[in-house]
């Protein structure tokens, strides 16, 4: 710090000199810095992979058919879909769910919920398949998007999609969204005394439901997504091998039905009977033979290969029951 003898220098001069010093030494922040480099056209083109769902802007050249999409979907998507959830308490099925958005069990799919078709292209290209994002060609993405839209009856089976035809699709739930919520929609008042006459506990399941993880509840083998198919394929079974292996006496559906009814369908049903479940968890229902058969591979994954279900084994599924389920599924999950 400079010192100015106050006795000899007028105060105004002190201020003026100090001000000049500050400007010369510290400076102010400039209005422009210029630290980045100009992005070249080639760089911008390489990075520019976004597609605008609203307008379709950014959809690349190329095309894909529903038929090609089916082949790709079965090879690259079917192994996970159904199981790949975002964890928001619902199951992200890709098709169906129409008319369910106002129900107690909304099923939000591409067909029932997604407002814009180009978003499907953008997301598949950027993030799918889950274990190999960015691996699909533009034509493959068009084909898979076409197949998923066909599963939702939004394009015919002979459809071929490209930038123009994909952007032209009007999704059923296009007008289902209310935009931008900058003002509060709930208006409470901060009452301080005698705010209500009495209080009753309306939900106290948390203590008894038994789904809160504890320190022993989570093990690595509960991870589901592997992308590698069944853990024990046909090649794992030695020809004419051990008597313990699945290739033994057939398991009838009549043996399976009561297990699923008692251990699974108390929650996984259109109208769950288990206290606290007002709707089927993740939208998965195991309350009819057809539904059980359709979800056989999932049952195996969740309750046989892993013991992820029933959650906390709250319904007490036994190891013998799990083995029987696995056997029935390995034999083709026949219901007749």
């Amino acid at each position: 710090m400079f010192k100015f003898p106050k006795a000899t220098i007028p105060l105004l001069l002190v201020v003026a000199l100090a001000g000049a010093f500050v400007i010369a030494d510290a400076q102010s922040y400039p209005s422009h810095y210029g630290f980045g480099k100009p992005a070249t056209v080639a760089q911008q083109e390489a990075w520019n992979d976004d597609v605008n769902g609203l307008t379709g802007a950014g959809l690349p050249p190329g095309h894909g058919s529903v038929a090609a999409g089916q082949t790709l979907y079965e090879a690259k998507c079917a192994v996970c879909h159904g199981d790949f959830g975002e964890g928001e308490n619902r199951y992200p099925v890709l098709a169906g769910g129409n008319g369910t958005l106002t129900s107690a069990r909304p099923v939000k799919t591409v067909g029932s919920y997604w407002p814009y078709a180009p978003t499907l292209y953008d997301y598949i290209r950027r993030a799918m398949p889950f274990n190999a994002p960015g691996s699909l060609t533009n034509d493959q993405v068009y084909a898979i998007a076409a197949y998923v839209l066909n599963l939702n009856n939004l394009v015919p089976a002979n459809a071929v999609l490209d930038a123009k035809t994909l952007a032209a699709i009007k999704m059923p739930n296009r007008n289902g969204f209310i935009n931008e919520h900058l003002k509060p929609d709930v208006h409470a008042v901060a009452c301080m005394t005698n705010c209500k006459k009495s209080v009753t506990i309306t939900s106290d399941l948390a203590r008894t439901l038994g789904i809160t993880p504890n320190e022993t509840g989570s093990t690595p083998d509960e991870r589901i997504i592997t992308g590698s198919g069944p853990a024990a394929g046909p090649s794992a079974a030695p020809a004419g091998g051990s008597a313990k292996h699945v290739a033994s006496a057939p398991v009838a559906f009549s043996q399976i039905a009561p297990i699923v009814a008692q251990r699974c369908a108390v929650c996984h049903a259109a109208h769950p009977t288990e206290a606290g479940f007002s709707a089927a968890p993740m939208g998965i229902m195991l309350d009819t033979p057809a539904r059980i058969a359709a979800l056989a591979s999932k049952i195996k994954q969740q309750a046989v290969t892993s013991h992820r279900m029933p959650i906390g084994n709250m319904t007490g599924m036994t190891d013998k029951e799990r083995a029987l389920l696995g056997k029935w599924i390995d034999q083709g999950a026949k219901i007749h």
Binding site: Y33, A39, N52, L120, A127, T193, I201, S203, A206
Partner: protein, 427 residues
């Protein structure tokens, strides 16, 4: 359990542990001779001598990057395996029940990834600004860090925090009902500075933020917010970002739901319309009872929760109990928190702990005399705009029970006469 055992639990090394250990050293043998007089009595009038007083401790460089002591090993992030199909597109929760103050330690910040945590070499990372700009720019991390920086403390909350509770009380745990929130001091450059560098065109109304993860996370943000208080940050709580929180660079969008605070930021593109990405259409939209969905409900509304007592922190005995918790608002500062012990019939103002900052966790405290009877503990926050945290009943009346996201309802903890604390919902 007698008085002494309460203060000297057997698992800790007490007087006997010291003697057994000390006897093996010369110094210990010398000290041991002085001990019997004190040890002879039933109770030791002196504080037990710590074993650390009898031998040299660890060197100052034994842990070049320090970690919590082994006795705090239970203070960790946890996940709920059944919530998600994979552990890459998933979430781990902050242990709010074990934390004091308002700052979340970096290693305990909740992690919500959509395609796993990428490990990115900062030397290879680039941030591009393009679209409706006069000068498309690409930055290395070194170039970015030359810009003037600012530090601000903000909370970040995933809008799915509490999402399991819309239909009923399900998780018996503060960590799992409220642990998708953290609060850090973030350091970086104001986005408005970079926007000026690139010369964002007047017709640009929206910005796409893109992450360099396997999900290539993308969200649209309006330019007015980008110009307001959004930051491009490289540090949290004084050190470089953790990989799981966006290393080497991420967006901080103060007060807005977590997923728009794009981690591993690689591109900001300016345009005229929102992009309507998957994460802002099929996800992170709040389905209402009438089948319509709230989209772009970015602002985290005023919320609070009592962090002790809670299911993980049961009552420690009758008498004085300091009830404490956290409050936050995406609209600004918390101005008041009230606490109820009777399920919301009567409320009492709690004391706010300084500092009280905008869009930041605020710690509150409330002195309570517990008589060993059943009680229903609640907290209710008010922010500087006058917004009052609603009850779940009030929230459900407007949003229904299918929303999943943006549950900011008042939480009720049921204190049982035995001291256990349950997660419940009340009328």
């Amino acid at each position: 359990m007698n008085h002494d055992e309460q203060h000297n639990p057997p698992k800790k090394i007490g007087r006997l542990g010291f003697l057994a250990k000390g006897a093996t050293t010369i110094a210990g043998a010398a000290l041991a001779s002085a001990v019997p007089a004190a040890a002879a009595g039933e109770t030791n009038p002196f504080a037990p001598r710590s074993p650390g007083m009898d031998e040299l401790g660890e060197t100052v460089i034994a842990h070049p990057y320090g970690m919590p002591i082994k006795y705090e090993a239970s203070v960790i992030r946890r996940n709920v395996p059944f919530l998600t199909a994979t552990e890459e597109s998933s979430v781990s929760f902050t242990p709010l029940q074990d934390l004091d103050g308002i700052i979340t330690p970096n290693g305990l910040c909740f992690v919500r990834d959509h395609g796993g945590t990428p490990i990115i070499d900062p030397a290879e990372h680039r941030l591009m600004i393009d679209g409706l700009v006069d000068r498309p720019l690409v930055f290395t991390m070194d170039e970015l860090k030359r810009y003037p920086s600012e530090s601000h403390i903000h909370f970040t909350e995933c809008p799915a925090n509490g999402g399991m509770e819309w239909r009923g009380a399900q998780l018996q745990s503060l960590q799992f009902t409220h642990g998708m929130v953290h609060c850090c001091e973030w350091t970086g450059v104001k986005l408005s500075v970079l926007m000026k560098e690139a010369g964002v065109k007047p017709q640009a109304k929206w910005m796409l933020a893109e992450g360099a993860d396997a999900a290539a996370m993308t969200r649209s943000i309006p330019v007015w917010k980008a110009l307001d208080d959004v930051m491009v940050v490289w540090s949290q709580n004084g050190e470089r970002l953790r990989a799981s929180n966006g290393y080497p660079v991420r967006l901080i969008v103060p007060g807005w739901q977590g997923n728009v605070n794009v981690k591993w930021l690689r591109r900001l593109k300016f345009g005229e319309e929102p992009w309507m990405t998957r994460e802002e259409t099929s996800k992170y939209t709040d389905l209402l009872a009438d089948g319509k969905a709230r989209q772009f409900a970015w602002i985290i509304e005023t919320k609070s929760v009592i962090t002790s007592p809670c299911p993980e922190n049961p009552m420690k005995g009758k008498g004085f109990t300091e009830v404490t918790g956290l409050a936050w608002s995406g609209r600004g500062k918390i101005t008041r928190v009230d606490v109820s012990t009777d399920g919301g019939i009567n409320w009492h103002p709690a004391k706010l702990q300084e500092p009280v900052l905008s869009k930041c966790l605020t710690r509150f405290r409330f002195p309570w005399e517990w008589h060993g009877t059943s009680a229903l503990l609640q907290s209710r926050a008010v922010d500087e705009t006058g917004y009052v945290q609603p009850t779940l009943t009030q929230l459900r009346a407007v949003r229904g029970t299918n929303a999943i996201y943006n549950d900011n309802a008042i939480q009720t903890w049921h204190v049982n006469p035995d001291g256990k604390v349950d997660n419940v919902q009340v009328s």
